[in-house]
Each structure stands twice: as C-alpha cells, then as structure tokens.
C-alpha cells in the first residue's frame, strides 16, 4: 500500500470495510439505463460465501441471478451497467477495483461455467487450445507445459483419451463432454471461487447427473467456494449448502437448503415449490401455480415486488403495496423479506401449503 498522507486517516475505515467471509457481497445494485427507463436488474443483494461451501441462487428469468454473477466476475461491459455496493473477494473490493485488477483475478481466483457449452466455446479453436490459453494468461509457462496441464485437466474431469481429445474441436464433443471441458477450462488455474450459471440446463438428465456429481467432487478436491445459479430447485437441492431465492432483483429468502426446502417462509418460495411437479412424492391432482407473471424490471411494483402475485398480501393491511419488506432474520440465519406476521406465516404454511406439497 502506497497511500498519500492525506488518505492515512481513511485507512482504518478501509480495514473495517473489508469483508470477513471469502466472498462478501454487500448491497449490490446493478442498473441498466435504457431508453425506456432504468432496468433495475439487481437492486440491493447481499450474501456471504466461505471456501468449501456452495451457495445456490434460485429464481426465474429476470430475477437478477445471472446479472449478480456477471457483476462478481466483472463481465458487464463498461458504461452499460451502473454497479454500486461492494463485492469483497478475499478482502478485496471488486466494485472499486480497476478493470485491469479485476481482469487479473478473472480465471485465476474466480472462474465461471456457462449454460450452453457449445456456444460458450469458440468454434474455431481446439478444446485444448482454449484451455491452454486460459492457463497461460495467468501462468508464465511454455506451451508444452500448458498443454500437459490441459491434458491433465481433461483427464481430471473424466474425458476419456485426453491426450487425443485435447486436439478436438468443441463441435466434435457431445454435450456432456463439452460441459466437462468447460469445467476443465474454468478450473485450470485452480480458482477459489467457481460460478456455475445453469450448468446443466442444456444437458440430458443422465448427463446432468454426471455433471452435478463432477462439480461436487471437484469442489471437495479443490475446496473452492461454488455459486450455482439455476431455476431448477432439484439441482440446487443436489449441491447447495445455502440457498438464496431471488425475485425481481432482490433476495426474497435466504437460508440453508433445509430452511428453504423443509420450512420455507416466503410466499414466493411456497409458490415455486407448489409449481413444480415432484417425482418423489405422491402425484398431486393439480399443480399450484403462482398467479400472474414476473414483473417488468423497469416498473417494479411498489412495496413488496411480489405483492400482485401473492395470495397473502391482503393480510398486511396495505403494507405490501407501500413498503418494501427488509430481509430479516427469523432465527438461525434464515432470512425472509416478507411483511407477514410470524403467526400468519406459520398458519399459512401449516394449513395451506405444507399439506399440498
């Protein structure tokens, strides 16, 4: 640190501001100004994540889950998105860091895998070359060493005959193999944080199961922090320790996987659970959908963004329409952003929701 003298008194404040957890996101806001108005894709999101843990971010399209992850990676084009808040990665605030500083972290300390591995890999370069490139940006090694490393990585993610497959092009791989190769690429620099954005949505069920197993195994081996972003509650249940449910750019509920699946508190979470048919339960005669459609992010409903679709908003004497509920702890770190009183909530869960799930 080479700070000018007048900034010395700021230094202690800086230290206090440092995040405690490995990844510490505080009041993140990502707004996109457009001709039609400001799109508030993420509007005040906070969470923490330790090494070796997996956070699942669940939500529908437009909930802000992907935008959140792209902000952590610093992948929003400059000048397009207005980002505020703080993202501490191992104590360093990424929001206030320069683009070059964030670039040097990308791929090395944090890496990302994407939904569709076919479009996410360059069609003109071999798989090996793309992994080598990822390794060589952050490691001063010869091409031979990097190539050897790429083959090892391909082997590690379960690609047969890696020394031959390294010279294949992405289109010559099957969907599952491509996603394995993507994972190999993401893990080539041994990152501390891995973000997986819908990593299995484009894959077949049997292949999805393989990839989820692989991510779980690799996480144990590398002891990295993992964020898994998905709309599929089944997938998060497979992997996540903690789950954040997002709606219209904010967290509706946050808790351990057990909190979310066994004692969910937010009507939106109830809605998600009721909407999906369950293969592991008695078949219900009818699904319980959430009424209406997700809101426009330019014109988010006032008060609780979920209130027009909520079956319980009337219990709150108009508070739902006027005041935005804060994300509050209901005990043991299970956070909920809802105006319902604990009694009403418990009653709704016990009588209306739980029996039908």
């Amino acid at each position: 640190m080479t700070e000018p003298i007048e900034e010395v008194q700021d230094a202690p404040v800086q230290r206090v501001e440092r995040g405690e957890a490995f990844l510490d996101v505080r009041n993140l806001q990502v707004h996109f100004p457009t001709d039609d108005g400001v799109v508030k894709s993420v509007d005040g999101v906070s969470f923490k994540l330790e090494r070796g843990k997996t956070l699942g971010i669940v939500g529908e399209s437009g909930s802000g889950k992907s935008v959140t992850s792209l902000s952590i990676m610093g992948l929003h084009p400059p000048g397009v998105a207005k980002i505020s808040g703080q993202i501490f990665l191992d104590g360093q605030d990424l929001v206030s860091s320069s683009r070059e500083e964030v670039r040097l972290l990308r791929g090395k300390r944090m890496a990302m895998i994407f939904q569709d591995p076919l479009s996410a890999m360059h069609p003109f370069y071999t798989v090996g070359r793309q992994i080598i490139e990822a390794y060589q940006v952050h490691n001063e090694v010869s091409k031979q060493v990097a190539r050897k490393h790429a083959i090892e990585m391909l082997d590690r993610v379960g690609i047969p005959q890696p020394d031959r497959r390294v010279d294949a092009y992405p289109h010559q791989f099957s969907g599952g193999m491509r996603q394995r190769a993507m994972i190999a690429m993401a893990l080539s620099c041994d990152p501390d944080l891995l973000i997986a954005d819908e990593p299995t949505t484009a894959l077949d069920v049997t292949v999805q199961a393989q990839i989820l197993d692989l991510i779980r195994d690799l996480q144990r081996e590398f002891n990295s922090a993992v964020i898994i972003i998905t709309h599929d509650l089944g997938v998060v249940a497979e992997l996540a320790d903690d789950i954040q449910v997002m709606y219209a750019g904010r967290a509706a509920e946050y808790g351990t996987a057990e909190d979310i699946f066994d004692r969910p508190q937010h009507p939106y979470t109830w809605g998600l659970l009721g909407s999906m048919p369950r293969i592991d339960r008695e078949r219900s005669e009818r699904l319980i959908p959430i009424k209406g459609t997700p809101p426009s992010l330019i014109n988010v409903p006032s008060g609780c963004a979920f209130n027009p679709r909520c079956n319980y908003a009337h219990l709150n004497d108009g508070l739902s329409q006027t005041e935005r509920p804060e994300l509050l702890d209901t005990g043991n770190g299970h956070l909920v952003a809802c105006h319902l009183s604990p009694q009403n909530r418990r009653q709704a869960w016990e009588t209306d929701i739980k029996p039908k799930l």
Binding site: M73, L104, R106, S119, A120, H122, P123, F124, V137, Y169
Partner: protein, 338 residues
C-alpha cells in the same frame, strides 16, 4: 474424404464453366438469328463493302456460320482444349489451345490479347484489395468498439458516402483534383511491373487503387462493424473475458476471427469479380486491362472477343468461389469433413 470433396468441387466448377460457355455462346450466336439475321448477314461484316452475295456466302461457310449451332459450339469447346485452325481465305491461322476464339475483325486470336491484359487488371485489383481490406476492416473494428460515439458515426457516414458514390464520379473527381489540378499523379495509363520500376508502377496506380478501394472499403467497414457487433455479443467472447484474457486478445483472437469469416467469402468473390475486369475504373483511368478490352470489344460488336472476356471473367469467379470454399474449411473447423 477431403480429396473426394475437392474432386467433386473441381468437377462441379468445370461443369459450371461449360454451362457458362454454352449459355454465353448461345446468347451471342443464337440471339442474332432469332432476330432474323441469317448466316450470310453475320458474315457480311467480315468482307469488303463491295462483296457480292456469293462472296459473302462463301465467307459464311468458311467461318462456319452455316453449321448448326451445336457444331459451332462443339468446335468452340474443342478449340478451348486442343486449339483450332481458322481459315480466313488467303491462309490458315492456327489458334493454339486454349483458343478463346478468333476475332474476324482484327484477324487475331483473342487469347494472347487477353493474357497481355491480365497483369494490368490483376495489379489494379490486387493493390486495391490490399488497401480496402486494411482500411475497411480496420474502420469497421474501430467503429464497432466505439459504437454510438462521434467517431463511429462520422466513419459510418463516410462509409455510406463510399457505398453510394459511383466510381466514375469519385474517379473523375480525384483525377481532376490530384492529377489535373495538383499534378501529383498520372493522368492514366500504366507502366508494367518489372524489377526496375516497382515505384513507377505503384505511382501510376495509386489513384485508381484508392478510388476503387474507397468503394469497397466502405462496404467492408459496414460489414466488419456489423460482424464485430454480433460476435462481440457471442457467449464465447464472454467466456474469453471470463478467462481473464486482455481485451486486445479478446477482440482480435476471439471476436475478429469469427467476424472475418463471412468477410473472407465476400472478399474472394469481389476479387474474382474484379479480375474479370474493373470496367468503370479501367475506363476512367485509361488502364489497358480486361475491363477496357471488354468495352472496346462491345463497342466494335466483336463477338468473339466479348465471348472471350466473358469466359475469363466467369473463370475467375468460379475459381474464386472454389478457393473461398476451400479456405472456409481451413478457417472454420465445423465445415471440415471428418
């Protein structure tokens, strides 16, 4: 597999050229007859004014105009492959293979004339292509990366002007400014390229190059810009950024590489087309190339020459097409046949 593909493509190219010759031949030799002209009428142009009917008819027979069309076409194709003898009354002229026809007006075979003009056209097309590739693609990249900026908008306005203004306007304008006005450049004509005077060669051609390149550069700038805007939004470009590559690498190695592929196709075809003669440019700058030859031939209604030019132009386009398709397979591994 690659070999089979190549063989198939070459056979296809040859067939295509045969069809082109047949169609061109038919147009030039059949159409006058449909208009009511007899073989004698056609031959009339190649004898003296005072020739009698019998003399004309003899000429028509001698030149083969009285034969059925397919016989004439067969003779023409045979001439392409093994050469042909032309009987012009007082002697027999040998037109060696590839015989592109024989001009009865100038009493010369077409091919040597054409061959002599190819270097001029090639010089013009090659140099202009070099300039427009560099400036057009460069402009396109800069515009795409600064989308919406003042720079982007002014570059694109210039490009729009370039696409809209015809060569005979920009060419004459630049001639009147740089050549007649300032006296910086030649007023037309060309020094052939050999090892003694490459600078003179370039000096003679700089104005036609720039004029021709301006038109194409403008089009290429627009194409490159559109292509870059599209590829920079691709998922794999996001992946490249996620790896931590520098923006420069992301743009050049990942974005531009894909954006250039469709441009390669267009470039090949444009170049092929120009090799068949840049008619307007060659005429404006008095360059003795294939295009100018075509104009002269058309004015004189010298059909064998026109046919020859058409064939050469078609040949270059078909060749360019083939080369582009093969190159495409090199550039885009997905096209390769495994």
């Amino acid at each position: 597999m690659v070999f089979a593909y190549l063989v198939r493509r070459v056979i296809g190219a040859v067939l295509l050229l045969l069809i082109v010759t047949a169609v061109t031949f038919a147009i030039f030799f059949l159409v006058p007859r449909l208009g009511g002209a007899t073989a004698d009428d056609l031959a009339g142009r190649y004898v003296g004014k005072s020739a009698g009917q019998e003399q004309i008819h003899n000429t028509a027979v001698r030149l083969g105009f009285t034969d059925p069309l397919y016989v004439q076409y067969g003779r023409f194709v045979k001439g392409l492959v093994v050469g042909q003898d032309y009987n012009y009354g007082t002697g027999i002229e040998r037109c060696p293979a590839p015989c592109f026809g024989y001009s009865f007006l100038t009493q010369q075979p077409v091919w040597p004339d054409l061959v002599a003009r190819i270097p001029v056209t090639a010089s013009l097309a090659g140099g202009a292509a070099f300039i427009w590739l560099i400036t057009g693609v460069g402009t396109g990249i800069v515009s795409a990366l600064r989308r919406g900026s003042v720079l982007d908008r002014s570059l694109m306005s210039v490009a729009l002007a370039g696409v809209s203004l015809p060569i005979f306007f920009t060419g004459l304008l630049s001639l009147s400014i740089f050549s007649y006005g300032l006296g910086w450049t030649q007023q037309g004509g060309i020094n052939p390229l050999d090892e003694t005077n490459p600078l003179w060669w370039a000096y003679d051609l700089i104005l036609p190059w720039v004029t021709l390149a301006f038109l194409y550069a403008a089009a290429y700038a627009r194409l490159t810009r559109a292509g870059m805007l599209e590829t920079m939004n691709e998922d794999y470009v996001r992946t490249a950024r996620a790896k931590g590559l520098t923006e420069r690498t992301v743009i050049l190695r990942h974005g531009l590489r894909s954006a250039l592929t469709p441009i390669l196709t267009i470039f090949g075809l444009d170049l092929g087309l120009l090799m068949g003669g840049a008619i307007l440019t060659e005429t404006t700058f008095s360059l003795p190339g294939i295009g100018q030859y075509a104009v002269i031939a058309l004015r004189a209604n010298d059909l064998p020459k026109v046919l020859g030019v058409t064939l050469v132009a078609a040949f270059f386009i078909v060749l360019a097409n083939l080369v582009v398709d093969l190159l495409y397979a090199v550039v885009d591994p997905r096209v390769r046949i495994s």
